[in-house]
Point group: C2
Chain length 789, copies 2
């Protein structure tokens, strides 16, 4: 149970302050009623985003409530689909998994944005879970055009964006996972060794409400010789903390669950303490033999709890620094169109089930520089001497980043003065709205963007930057996705990871992680997160160039015939898709820049945007992963360049895990030797971390060191540094200890009072998700429900 | 000239606000005289550092004024040294270049810190410039013990910290650079082609006050066949901006200046437009030949000025976000002893001429983890098709980071609420005090340090960190050095670069940089900055270990004889100095951790601190640099491990450039095969950037992308994440759209008013350096003078 005293104490403190504040607020004289009040500095502006109107409709924005409901209704009207409402659907019923906007093809969008064409015709992307068959499958279909009209609206298999050509269908390996798998298989196996689970852990996992153990296993399933799964016993947390991935028990078993008839499934064997037993009898016999080593369990305790613990450090209980916005917001938002403008940047926000927040049509100084920027997929590839860790390679878009992009905590996840936007996703005939799940804010970086000192003057420019952020908690891990924009025209793409690690049981596996608790291994794993960035540098015809610093021994006209050990640049272009899988390379010697070769600057250099790793990045350590086969071929290198095609919009598909040998999207198939010179090209880059969790990852991994980032910076794009345009700079002229001039370039000094209470969040307003039913459509009865999976 | 209107306008705005503020301040009712005033929220605490007393004296702190003056006086009393006061010393006089504290040997310091021994006996480290000889040299000597007493105080050559054993002496290649070099050589050569400089640039460099051209050249000088220098003509800036490194003119000449008799020096040749002329006659003949191509000059203009330019972006003139400290300072400082304590970290600050700010005796939770952390040397290695760029490899400690660590601009270089410390350096019989040249402050990172969301609760912890910073402007470049401390026990070492690039003239050198202006190349160069970190993890006996993720194909008891493509860890130790030059390696696969093998944690893992690159790092591209020979052998790899010795305190020496083949400190000689297992070891690591300046580097390079950093993080050092101890976290329990509990763990909400004006700096208080004369000692007549070299 939760320790009671500290929380009661905190509550009392809170009530005291809340009451004090309420009293102060109510007794505060209004500005008009008190001359004394008038005489002091005015209160600082309340920071709400400036209003603006998007120049065009956001064509990437999701379906409206009405659109989604009408597609739902229309689908249930198609008798041939034989659909059952999700909540009533059993394992042998067909149901709707997803209804969302089919993101329009770039070709059509550019007509609309740049050439006064019509907005692209809208279609719904629908995923069906077809299980009323012995060969269950997921099916991607298109429904449209929208709005739905009987007679004109049709559905068709969605095939063009996928490399696999199987009519938008891929098998469903989880068709029986809701019910049959546990009820008729896993819990029976667990029951077959109830004596042992009771003896070892005084616990059971039988599917009852009072189970103290849980059983779960690998992802993806093995698909080479039938469908094989390994499962492990885990202790259930004994308090409210979400530490279930920290409590492995080290007993594993394997099942061949090929086909939909559990009577044909087969038990394959047990693993305990690194010994494999091919039958339960064998395992039991060994268990009751003299000298059998019984391993200790991992048990929930304060070590797994995230609450404040131990004595706070000196002065920690004093209120910490906080950022405030005395001048109000300096950015403008069209909340309806999810359009944002900050300084010389502007863009649209989209949000999808698979990958969460994306950004479209990033313009800088009025020119599009990036058509699309967003996450494609995230891989967490584990390894170990046990089959669960060895077999686990999560492809997180299977779960989806959209469904788990929860409400942000104002003042903690983002400054309280941030502007918050909602996002939504469709599931189970409802739309879930994540309230305040996207934040955007300005901040002072704490270091200048430019400075120079001399003996007579000093020039310094503040580094005020703008961030847009969301956080997706996919099970145990919290991924924080930030896109930051800077006054020098650079964009910083960052991901940080916190939350609970997935641990391993500690037994003979020192080669796969550190021992971090009683019987716990911090299981080694790679995070690789693939992003798409579709640059449009002065048009769509772009080229990836490289500039590499290489050591050379070279003679010069003036070196008197002597060779000098020095260095020079090798300038190159990535000419075709045969040479476009790229590594950052040794010592960061190569700089990668997307340029427009047809648009040189005044000096003949090509205007472009450079991509550079800025916070450490990683590609996958494992070669030809047995778990992944062809399902994550985007993870092998640091960055990739391909020809942009309407038929290759995404590097991955959420159901790639269902057929890893023949995945829906095999990224390798994008590489077919096409020319990349002055074509519309896409750069796919990987962020990531090699993670060997240590004791400092308990209870949670920390964002400080679990980070990865890439910067996108203008290179020879403008004639000079654009941060010279901000007035948030100073030049001080001085001599002999006195200042002769302070030039703040029109930026006024500030004299207002920032009431810190107004910059403190009202944490009691946290709500979680709002759900709106779509079938039957019931928009007027939303309810609150947050589902973490 | 500076554009007048904007500055006048800014002044008027400032005056208006200053007057308004003064009026407000004077008419503001005192808290006691107005009940209305009392009723509002109180003003936030004024943030001044908490006071504390250092547990021990700072034995690394510089000499006292009295000590320095007494050494000065004593030295001038030693007739055998034949010293002349610097201001009066000519090229054939001996003078004192440096008097500072000889940093005590660690052996002695640990006796004092840990074993109640006496503080180490103090000595002055003195550098003499011995030029009253045909073979001029710099001489390092020790003077002491201090305090100076006639009879007991002696001087001796300083030799033990240097690998070169020449009695603390190294030749001085600049003995005639003050006067003779220019007056009797360079300006005569310039005069010999006055017709050409007038024709090309309507300018001259003759040593007169109205010169419009300047001449300067490479560093270090070539030392292979005599002492050779190349010089270039540069345009002088025509306004007050410090853009002299942006105005090369592309005409170069070479001189052999071996020896001290200029009459024996020889002119070697001209270079123009990539054509070499071995005599002036030859050059002149060519110049006046038909078809001779005259290249255009680089001329000062707005492109080279750092002031605000063009139209400010939308909303930029609104006041930006600012960090405030409603709870006051949460760290404690002993300004006298330069001792700092923040949360569970504490340390002492030192400051030296050569490398500026250093940190000593970093304790975390009461245990020393690092004995010493600081910069050793910074290299800027250029390359080009011209002899200046090709020959330039600045070793910046020659100039010194201490002398150029200028006053910081409050509110711009650091938050205005930061605590500022002074630093000082000795030169020309004076001590210069850099007022407010070190800052320290807390800040909210803008992202949490930990978080986890579930469907029933969310837990988030603020990431409040502490930074100590100084900035050294070595000529054109501003290096910002930050050390940041985090609640998870990690330390972030960062350097960022701004200021003016050193450019090259653009002529046939596209292989060495981009053309960035009319006739300007952004000259390619490597920045490599070497740092020393002397870890003491639970004592001085430490070992560098590596843990590498490697792809493997491996069978397991449960894999039915099938090999699986997966990965595992290779754990290793760096056993001797034969294997201790290290690279981060491909894909960041290797993790480097300094541990104490004798102090395993409860699980048998070794407690330690990991070092990881966090912002991009670089080692030197050039192999066996012709410029550097043995002078910067610390630049070849990413990190190095050596046995710590009192005789190897520094990786470099400021006069390494004077004899690059036989430098005072040849870092390679530290590597003599000694065991590194459970020894007192030092890690030397390199930060750096490969810099190919582009148009965005004009007028100044920006800190956003010119950055490098390394994190030091506890690894298996504690039993869990220490950030669980802060109260600056929240847990919100919620369900169905309402919050059942908000636990802020005793951290109160804040209700004060932050008067933004008090968080704005008084920029008119900027002063620059204070100088105190040491010989003759005149402590009561300090004067202001800032010298940028």
């Amino acid at each position: 149970m939760m320790p009671l005293m500290p929380r009661v104490a905190a509550w009392l403190v809170f009530v005291f302050f809340a009451l004090s504040y309420a009293r102060l607020a109510s007794s505060r004289p209004s500005p008009k009623s008190s001359s004394a009040w008038m005489r002091k500095s005015p209160s600082c502006t309340v920071p709400t985003a400036q209003l603006t109107t998007a120049p065009k409709s956001n064509v990437w924005s999701g379906l409206t409530d009405t659109e989604a409901a009408s597609v739902d209704s229309w689908l249930f009207g198609q008798k041939s689909l034989n659909l059952t409402v999700s909540k009533k659907a059993g394992e042998w019923d067909n149901s709707i998994l997803l209804i969302e906007l089919m993101l329009p093809n770039k070709t059509g969008v550019l007509e609309y944005l740049d050439k006064e064409g019509n907005a692209p015709v809208r279609y719904a992307h629908v995923v069906l879970d077809v299980r009323a068959t012995t060969e269950p499958y997921y099916e991607d279909i298109l429904v449209g055009p929208l709005p739905v009209k009987n007679g004109t609206t049709t559905y068709q298999p969605l095939t063009y964006p996928y490399t696999r050509k199987t009519g938008g269908r891929v098998r469903n390996l989880d068709a029986d996972a809701d019910d049959t798998l546990y009820k008729y298989w896993i819990h029976k196996i667990s029951g077959s060794i109830l004596d042992i689970t009771l003896d070892l852990w005084n616990g059971s996992a039988l599917g009852f409400g009072n189970d103290t153990l849980d059983i779960w296993g690998q992802d993806p399933l093995w698909q080479d010789d039938g469908i094989i799964r390994w499962d492990q016993f885990w202790m259930l947390p004994t308090d409210e903390f979400d530490s279930f991935t920290l409590l492995p028990l080290g007993l594993y078993f394997s099942s061949n669950i090929t086909g939909r008839n559990p009577s044909k499934w087969s038990f394959e064997g047990w693993l305990y303490n690194n010994v494999y037993y091919s039958t339960t009898e064998e395992f039991r016999a060994a268990y009751y033999s003299p000298g059998f080593e019984k391993l200790k369990p991992n048990i929930q305790g304060p070590w797994a709890n995230t609450d404040q613990q131990d004595t706070a450090p000196p002065l920690d209980t004093s209120y910490p620094p906080i950022s405030v916005t005395p001048g109000g917001s300096r950015y403008a938002v069209d909340k309806e169109q999810k359009y944002v403008k900050w300084m010389d940047f502007e863009f649209y926000i989209a949000f999808t089930r698979d990958t969460g927040m994306r950004i479209y049509d990033i313009k800088y100084k009025g020119e599009r520089i990036i058509y699309e920027l967003g996450l494609e997929e995230a891989l967490a590839h584990y390894a170990g001497n046990d089959p669960i860790q060895s077999g686990t390679s999560y492809l997180d878009s299977f779960y989806g980043f959209g469904p788990f992009s929860f409400e942000l905590v104002a003042g903690y996840d983002c400054p309280s003065y941030a502007t918050y936007l909602d996002s939504s996703f469709y599931t189970v005939e409802t739309t879930h709205i994540h309230i305040n799940s996207i934040c955007m804010f300005e901040q002072d970086a704490g270091y200048p963007i430019q400075r120079h000192s001399t003996s007579t003057y000093v020039s310094v420019t503040k580094n005020i930057f703008f961030t847009i952020r969301n956080i997706s908690t996919v099970g145990n891990y919290d991924y924080m996705f930030s896109y930051s924009f800077y006054m020098d025209g650079s964009i910083h793409v960052e991901v940080r990871a916190s939350g609970y690690i997935q641990s391993a049981y500690w037994a003979h596996n020192g080669d796969y992680g550190y021992q971090i608790h009683d019987a716990l291994s911090g299981s080694m794993h790679d995070h690789v997160l693939n992003y798409k960035v579709d640059f449009d540098v002065l048009g769509t015809a772009n080229t990836m160039t490289t500039t590499t610093m290489v050591p050379v021994s070279e003679s010069y006209p003036w070196s008197k015939g002597k060779a000098r050990n020095t260095m020079k640049l090798q300038r190159n272009q990535i000419k075709t898709e045969d040479e476009s899988k790229l590594l950052w390379g040794d010592n960061g010697a190569t700089q990668f820049t997307v340029v427009n070769l047809d648009k040189p600057n005044a000096f003949g250099e090509h205007k472009g945007f450079r991509v550079l790793p800025s916070r450490g990045t990683a590609h996958l350590t494992v070669k030809d992963s047995s778990n992944l086969a062809n399902a994550a071929n985007w993870a092998t290198h640091d960055l990739f360049v391909t020809r942009r095609k309407d038929t290759e919009p995404r590097a991955a598909h959420p159901y790639n895990s269902q057929d890893v040998n023949n995945p829906v999207v095999d990224f390798n198939e994008f590489f077919d030797g096409e020319s990349l010179v002055q074509e519309d090209i896409v750069v796919w880059f990987n962020l990531g971390m090699h993670h060997i969790p240590h004791t400092g990852d308990l209870p949670n991994t920390v964002f400080t060191t679990a980070h990865s980032g890439l910067q996108i910076m203008p290179l020879n794009y403008l004639s000079g540094d654009p941060s010279r345009e901000t007035v948030n700079m100073v030049r001080i002229d001085y001599k002999n200890g006195s200042v002769s001039a302070v030039d703040t370039f029109g930026q006024a000094q500030m004299t207002c009072n920032a009431d810190i209470a107004t910059f403190e969040p009202d944490l009691y307003s946290y709500k979680g998700d709002v759900v709106i039913r779509k079938f039957p459509y019931d928009p007027n009865n939303p309810y609150y429900e947050t589902d973490d999976g």
